[in-house]
Symmetry: D2
Subunit: 346 residues, 4 copies
């Protein structure tokens, strides 16, 4: 029975609390949160769990084997480092941290100490992602040329991360899991409704070495919630609509073959449009699964699916995308400042 401490009882921390409590092979022994009232409420219902207002004190607690970190992103690095230095296995909420050098440092420490470092990219445990990986890896889709994600909704403004760092980790971790590899070229643009320089809409294009393009349409400003990923292959195409309760994953038997056209220097495609299949997905709870997986990884029974290196690759790509995004925002500001007056609607 491994003993786990949880840092942070915010939105995601509460979910982790539930998942950790629900795993019969895990003992959730301590919790840290800066807010006293959160801990007071916990004391009533779970008096046996030790409570800390400072995450660093929990991390120093000798009677803890592993730590789950769900505090604001800015504190991930310091806490994860301290936990590793204290000999504890660590799982960090996504994104792993805010800086790729720090991410490398965490991985180096984990390796040095022989400890587990995992990033909580929960989507990698979603049955639809498992199925998508199977479709990609088995070759059933053929050569995958595009990954198109729409991840938009209203009302989940995060105070400490912009929309890129909030939403793109989901797609980037899925892309890494399905295809491996980091992008060789990145394009990015965005829009800041609320805070200058802090995008709440971002459009990103990632070009991968295996001739795949990934496009992400991310927004906190859409009245309609969309969570939709399309993966286009030469033989089949798959569309995952995370909000569709009945048939979240659809596989289209829509292959494209090309043939040269006689009278022009152009090749025209032949489309083969066939049936659509929606496979039955198991009804796993991804968060429960990643918690159980973390436990087994700590015990050496499984190899980490969403390890610190994957987490570091995601941070590195976010970092690169942020540079491009900042350039775009600056170019737009410059262009704006150069126009004599704004064009009015007639």
């Amino acid at each position: 029975m491994i003993k786990i401490g949880l840092c942070g009882l915010g939105y995601w921390g509460k979910n982790l609390f539930r998942a950790l409590s629900g795993n019969p092979a895990i003992q959730l022994v301590a919790v840290a949160d800066a807010k006293a009232d959160v801990l007071d409420r916990l004391a009533l219902t779970h008096p046996a769990i030790r409570r800390y207002t400072d995450a660093m004190d929990l991390i120093a607690d000798p009677d803890i084997d592993a730590v789950c970190i769900a505090t604001p992103v800015a504190s991930h690095y310091a806490q994860a480092k301290a936990a590793l230095d204290n000999g504890k296995h660590v799982m960090v909420e996504k994104p792993l941290c805010t800086d790729s050098a720090e991410a490398e440092d965490l991985n180096a420490r984990a390796k040095l100490y022989g400890l587990t470092l995992m990033t909580d990219h929960t989507y990698l445990f979603h049955p639809a992602v498992t199925k998508l990986r199977e479709l990609v890896r088995s070759g059933e889709l053929g050569h995958v040329s595009y990954f198109d994600s729409q991840r938009i909704n209203l009302g989940l403004f995060q105070p400490d991360v912009n929309v890129l760092w909030d939403l793109a980790p989901h797609d980037l971790s899925i892309i890494d899991y399905l295809f491996n590899g980091e992008p060789i070229h990145i394009e990015a643009s965005g829009y800041c409704h609320v805070n200058a320089g802090f995008p709440d809409i971002a459009y990103l294009t990632f070009h991968y070495p295996n001739a795949m393009v990934a496009h992400l349409n991310l927004s906190w400003m859409s009245p309609v919630k969309v969570r939709r990923i399309a993966v286009g292959g030469s033989d089949k195409m798959a569309v995952w609509d995370d909000l569709d309760r009945n048939e979240p994953l659809k596989i289209y038997d829509s292959g494209i073959t090309t043939h040269p056209r006689q009278d022009r220097d152009i090749i025209l495609p032949n489309y083969r449009i066939g049936s659509v299949t929606s496979p039955r997905l198991p009804e796993n709870e991804p968060l429960a699964d990643i918690i159980e997986h973390f436990r087994r990884v700590v015990l050496g029974e499984e190899i980490a699916r969403s390890d610190g290196r994957l987490g570091a690759r995601v941070v590195r790509t976010l970092e690169r995308a942020q540079v491009i995004l900042d350039q775009s925002l600056k170019q737009v500001r410059t262009a704006m400042s150069e126009i004599p007056l704004s064009i009015e609607a007639a």
Copy 2:
């Protein structure tokens, strides 16, 4: 009763033929198409319509008041110029032509001769666009900050235009009609599945001087057809799903107000999420409406909604976007050539 000649009986030309024939105040007197069998079939059902294999001969026909041009894009300029030079009013299928200098030239000739030059941006006559314009112009949406379009499907490869020139004119003409103005900054990337340098997927971001961003996700490679435009305003947001038969246009009473947050240098938004309304739209046939509008413009009874200047602005923006898109494609090719070997899926 004005007399109209139609150049081109391809996919769109057939639709124009039907719409022109259906207008009781228009006399469709002549048709040109390079394919003899197309003209032969026409002879059986409509023997009274004059037939030309060369569009230039139709354009020279003295007993024609106005010409509709629905031939391949590459021939638009020459035919429209000839028609204007022959004293005929002209409506050209979108895009107006392939070059902004030529577009300017056409407008200059039309002005010089006092003739009508219209571009057949049919969507400007769609009841949903009419309603969207009303929502924008009346201020009901508040300040519009984004326009997000997804225009994807399978199987409409055009041999003579890439996906940018094929699909973006719809969005660009709608943006022009709703908001006026041309973008001050453009970002573009794409993917070429079938022909190198000839994108069949394109992602475009247009920044407009009135602090609006427009994003277009265009594809000929999607197994699912989507025709969806979201217009986000500070007071309300509208989403038009052109494939939704029941409620194509939805207006979300979802305003966002911002308030400074005490303990941070950041402003957090308040969302006000209210009801959703789907207004009843009239059941006009946009193509019949633009044909009748063209007739009235020719007769001086109406002012052209989709005139040659709007068509020229669309061409100019396409031209600018193509430059950016080509740069992106080149950068990706360079990046690809520099990697030692492609990363394989594990």
Copy 3:
């Protein structure tokens, strides 16, 4: 080239006109309609077609091989009889007529004269129905226990038929085509919004000898249009949503096996819920197909799918259902008249 005359140019007659004109192996030589202006307009566009204001005159026209009847239902019998007596093949819009004895009489005459009598149950030529029949007949669905149809919408009030006679023929003809057989027991109830004794909503349950129940929910009073048929089998279930453009037909791999429960006198089912498949359907135009089929049947090249006997079975079932429906309406009226006063909403 067979010569066909068309009686009736109303809503459905116009569709038949288009389909007949579009068949190159058919010569539409004459049309009858009581409205002079309809015929006058036809004279302008199709001067070669002979015009009659009295369908009986068309039927007497010796230069006609076959007649399509799309006049109001009340006149079907007389016209079809006259046409057969005049030696002409006949296809009658659904329902065949208003009385099963008359339907028998028509079939007897057709048999006696060796002429074709078909009912225009166009749905039998719909690709989804073809596929459903294949699923049923091949045994892929297993034993089919229920057929559940919702056929509701707003605004298609027919002046001469109630909702039962207007909408149920679609389902009854499909059931006949898929399963054969007539119901052994019928239940029916309804509601009359507009005309007493003339239901605009009807709920029908048909019990078939092969242990199948069919339920029809028919309405002219629904703000939402639904055209949905579910066919439930012991191995698979199929749902056809006629308004779904993308995946109209879905096949659910959802079998049910039963097992006795130890501690009770009851059997509990095991559900096996598997994947969902939406087969690619051909894009036939059912009306064009039934017209071509009629032509071939007349020429002896094919055997009628939707013959007069099927049409007669549909009429017989409608007749029986009408009796039950009338009983129900009467019972409700009686019950209403017996309550001392209506119960008011608080």
Copy 4:
């Protein structure tokens, strides 16, 4: 702080357990369940809650103010009676019991003792039902002529109740809450897939004295889950799709006015089809709300919305419908036995 005991920790009992635990003004002091392992698990996580294997022992526990009963339906009456006789307030899972005389008896006892008797018709606390009631009671819908419910899905076979008693209570309680009144005429038919005489599909038509018809399509055998209620009024119509996350309730501005038709003895309707509105509904948790409501009713602070009399009316209607349903099943069996041989598919 009232002290509540809960009988039954099955599917619904677990939900009640969660809701009771989550109410800070309620003390969940005891639980009864026949299964020892269920109680053993509870002992680990909630050692302070008293545990009983026999519900009657819990009911006799003097330190309990009120009892929630979520045991199999057959035991509802005996337990509710015992609880009332022991001076405890009672809330019973729907349906209240299996017999209307018993339901009357329970109400009589509650009245005699001055205790609260409530039925847990949770839907009456659903925001959509609250809104529907508002629409009906304010007259916004005009005269409501039909209530059409589809409540179908796969896999929730209940061992102790048939589909009528399992699913119809939802609709019957909603109808009672919206409109008051009991049906004056009932029609029913069904189908028994698994156990003879025990329908798993039921079609019901209820005629109400205020000239409203309610139709229920209930099934445990549908591969697709549908939870959809349409309420049709003379001015507006409302459709509630309980599975639509975005716009569960839609109000259609689709009124119908009638006008006599000159040339016939029939009246034709004019349809006025307007916009569709989806009001923003509060995000209440109905079960939490009914629990809090029960607490307040017990304390005399509120008047019971879903009281024992409403529960009794629902049971009485179920009882009447069961009689009709049995008649139909018998008629079908008789008809089946009279046919010489089943009709085979060709």
